[in-house]
Point group: C2
Chain length 258, copies 2
């Protein structure tokens, strides 16, 4: 009987392969098989020279592979004794269905480990100069999914206006509804807001404006199919503050090569 291998549920980070962790790279290097998602940058796969790469992600307009099928694939490969990496966008335990996969693997007697990743809920805003907390502006963070309407309505419908920075992952299609919910709850119309597309990749795009204008933001329509997140809260204003300070400072980044 072959001893079962190991399945590593690995967070790939927001997209840029430089945001992989050292442990993620180690697991890729030793992998026999890598099952990866739609939002994972294929450049990450160069770290897995020995592995078979299997795409198990969803693509817009095409039927996605069922979760149960992914779990069966992971179990079958591990029971053959293989080292398997399940490479997930962001962090495997924040909207990554990592918990479901861990349960399925444990039930099948397959050893499994979690390798945390850089979540786009933090890295997306950070790479757009937006701290999700900032002394005097926001000291708490709320993360919801634009794909979980009942859940985000429950959170955003009860949360005190302005009490936290709100990040909405997979938030593009829901942006009009989210904005309406927050405005109805009493958030000021001029609350700073941002729409961030393809964070951390070469295709990254950002829009900042007021909560009241979030609905009309045209960026998602100009870049159809791009993944995106929303940020709402006072600390979004730091991005503009940084921008104007940099423009005002004579010896700024522009002279870096001088």
């Amino acid at each position: 009987v072959t001893a079962p291998g190991l399945v590593s549920l690995v967070g790939a980070g927001p997209g840029d392969p430089e945001l992989l962790t050292l442990r993620a790279v180690d697991r890729l290097q030793r992998a026999d098989a890598v099952l990866y998602d739609a939002l994972v940058d294929r450049a990450s796969l160069r770290y897995a020279p020995r592995a078979r790469w299997e795409f198990v992600g969803k693509r817009a307009g095409r039927p996605s592979i069922a979760q149960a099928t992914i779990e069966r694939l992971l179990i079958r490969r591990a029971l053959r004794g293989e080292r398997v990496v399940r490479l997930k966008s962001g962090d495997p335990f924040l909207f990554g269905r990592g918990g479901e996969e861990a349960l399925a693997l444990a039930a099948a007697g397959v050893p499994c480990e979690i390798v945390p990743g850089v979540s786009s809920a933090l890295a997306g805003p950070a790479l757009a100069d937006i701290p999700v907390t900032h002394r005097g502006l926001s000291s708490s963070l709320v993360v919801v999914s634009g794909h979980a309407e009942r859940a985000y309505a429950e959170v955003l419908g009860s949360l005190q206006p302005g009490a936290a920075t709100v990040v909405v992952l997979m938030g593009l299609a829901a942006r009009a509804h989210i904005a309406a919910l927050l405005l109805a709850r009493g958030w000021p119309a001029q609350t700073p807001a941002a729409v961030l597309l393809s964070a951390s990749t070469a295709a990254a795009q950002r829009w900042t404006g007021a909560l009241i204008d979030l609905r009309a933001c045209a960026l998602p329509d100009q870049h159809p199919g791009a993944p995106g997140l929303l940020v709402v809260g006072a600390s979004v204003s730091i991005a503009a503050q940084l921008q104007s300070l940099r423009e005002a400072a004579p010896q700024s980044a522009a002279s870096q090569g001088g």
Copy 2:
């Protein structure tokens, strides 16, 4: 005139150096100076062979270096043309004061970049087998700081009971108060809860139980000075489910070496 160097505000992750990102390691390798915090594992510094290492963190019972002093140090070194890494525990833009440092640097005309890190708000629970979201149990996440009482009281006092998984960073001293707030708001006494100490390090310790018992958890007193976080919400129960599945499965992790 020397062109200013570059300050990289780098997230070191929750502690374990294997959770550094590739970009963090690159910036450490090229650094002339590294200013690091109390919770950063010194093993991370082996990636900065050329750099002077300067400890600027807080230690229990000793006066900490003022934020303004840290900002002055960063600016002075960068204006000498040095490459400076400001190495922060977790992510620099989630309770990391990274926004304040970015503003001070921009005002001084010093180029600055953010290198996002793995936050202990996600990695802490993940490494303890706790997904912060899990289909059917929790689809939202709230992160607060136990050091920001007014802020967490505003969030936890308004949030609908059970609407999100609650993670409290720096939460040990506040645990009785947090538990009382949630119970008063209507969270069920038996809501699963966890206390996680020194997440991702060799000294890691965990306790899981019911919200009503959070106050009485003795773990923090048994490990004085250890950093810790709290997790409250239904998805905490996944850790126990995984544990019992692993114990029930005959060909489980224990036989991995066979």
